[in-house]
Symmetry: C2
Subunit: 293 residues, 2 copies
């Protein structure tokens, strides 16, 4: 099938590669052409604008950075929604605003274009190995059409409901992570200050009723003072910001999430925007006057 791909960062390049390996023809656009290199080497066609992708491909996938980038790709000059579009379906896989997903759906409809929001979780490893979880909102019939392509990129593909419901589910995921992270980092800071061996504590409390992916996977990095990403602090701040804005829009206060975002904002101010999310440990150390953060 003739497919379009916009956004060839770490995640997008791997995901598009799976479509290519699945025998599909790709038209590709990215802000930095160089990052599309491997896809072009394997036969993909370069396009100078999103609009050029839309002219050639039937289904276009987008995965870019921030909601503003999504807006630019869809609605900017030479964006996907320009009147030259020949495509049938757009699929935004960026972790973006549920409300923007609804706007994309509303504006696409009069042009005869269907849309899906389909954010993912599973990180760069999941993207590379084709084991992502993909959370999809939009029309069920459109989901069914795109499903075989999703299956090339992920292993857990879920249809959640109308436009925005995929993004809402990703928001739920990130709210959950925020709680797990504050628990992990406060727990290990207490352990460190009381003179416990961090890895031993992780081995004990990481089983049973306190267990989480965060304590078992990021805890050991904290124990080793390894704050490499993983998942960037600044991207997590973006995701929590989307969650808080969407919650506020429906009159919903989430005090835990708000506190965690504040601490991450402080962490970024301390120069850790490009550290991994486990660096929250350093923000709590600094807060308590004993960190190098």
């Amino acid at each position: 099938m003739k497919l379009g791909w916009i956004g060839t960062g770490v995640m997008g390049a791997s995901m598009a590669g799976h479509l290519q390996q699945g025998g599909h023809e790709l038209w590709v656009y990215n802000r930095t052409k160089q990052k599309a290199g491997p896809l072009l080497d394997h036969g993909a066609t370069w396009c100078d604008t999103p609009a050029a992708v839309a002219e050639n491909a039937r289904i276009v996938f987008t995965i870019v950075g921030h909601p503003q980038d999504v807006e630019a790709v869809y609605f900017g000059a030479d964006g996907l929604n320009s009147d030259r579009a020949g495509m049938d379906i757009v699929v935004d896989m960026t972790t973006s605003q549920p409300s923007l997903a609804k706007i994309i759906a509303q504006r696409a409809e009069p042009l005869g274009i269907d849309s899906l929001d389909a954010p993912v979780s599973g990180g760069d490893v999941g993207a590379r190995e084709g084991t992502l979880a993909i959370m999809v909102g939009g029309k069920q019939a459109v989901f069914n059409q795109v499903l075989p392509l999703f299956e090339l990129m992920g292993t857990t593909i879920s249809y959640l409901g109308g436009p925005g419901m995929g993004q809402h589910t990703k928001v739920c995921n990130q709210i959950l992570v925020a709680g797990n992270m504050i628990g992990t980092c406060e727990s290990l800071l207490y352990a460190a200050r009381q003179g416990l061996d961090l890895q031993q504590v992780i081995d004990i409390i990481g089983k049973g009723a306190a267990s989480s992916w965060s304590i078992n996977n990021l805890g050991p990095r904290i124990a080793q003072e390894n704050y490499d990403p993983g998942f960037f602090v600044e991207h997590f701040i973006k995701d929590m910001g989307i969650a808080l804005a969407e919650a506020r829009a429906i009159g919903l206060a989430l005090p835990g999430l708000a506190l965690v975002q504040q601490l991450y904002i402080a962490l970024k101010a301390q120069g850790h925007g490009r550290s991994g999310t486990q660096a929250l440990f350093l923000a709590l150390q600094t807060l308590n006057g004993d960190g190098s953060g």
Copy 2:
């Protein structure tokens, strides 16, 4: 061996039963005699005071409610530490203050008595099935002596260091749970308000990088509006109070934990002290004006 057991609540009765089944002779005290019934039926000897237990048993285990109860059992009139004591070792398995564990150790030493702090996790099911995690502080040699008895009650038995270190590890466990619970409840409240199917969301986000025991085990109860305990709200408030007091004592601010405790205090004020900890969902609903909490 001649063993003492003080505190035959839901946890204690099961744990003492495993020692009895292991062929040990038991001397038992509890505030409410009736709850010791099954142990007495199986040949345990009733004692009217903790001191009477200490007179007869070589190793005495205690698992009572609050730190004040621990103090009463050890230092009260007819307490364990009265001069009639013939015992060699005391083991407090209550989730209690690390600082109290140190005091018990200090006061026991001149009497020629060794002490361990050995709080557990795994709940009533773990107690019944003998699969508890037991976190032990005290002298290593004393730990080694008591280990065969711990092995009758639990499957993961860890030596963490000197007096109080078992309690400190349990504190780490509860700090971690606090974070996991706020994440779980805020995430599911957002999901509910956005019209998502809670169980479907749990099935998706409960795998991968957002997963926790809380979302996977308590999340489904929230989805079914089941707020039965499990683990009582009022006991969790006690545990978080211990954590915050110990942290404050060493000059350590834990803002996430403090916020979560406040929400649980509000939840108890709403009449949910004897609900399960997943009822935090109701406190957040009430906070947002749409609950029955």
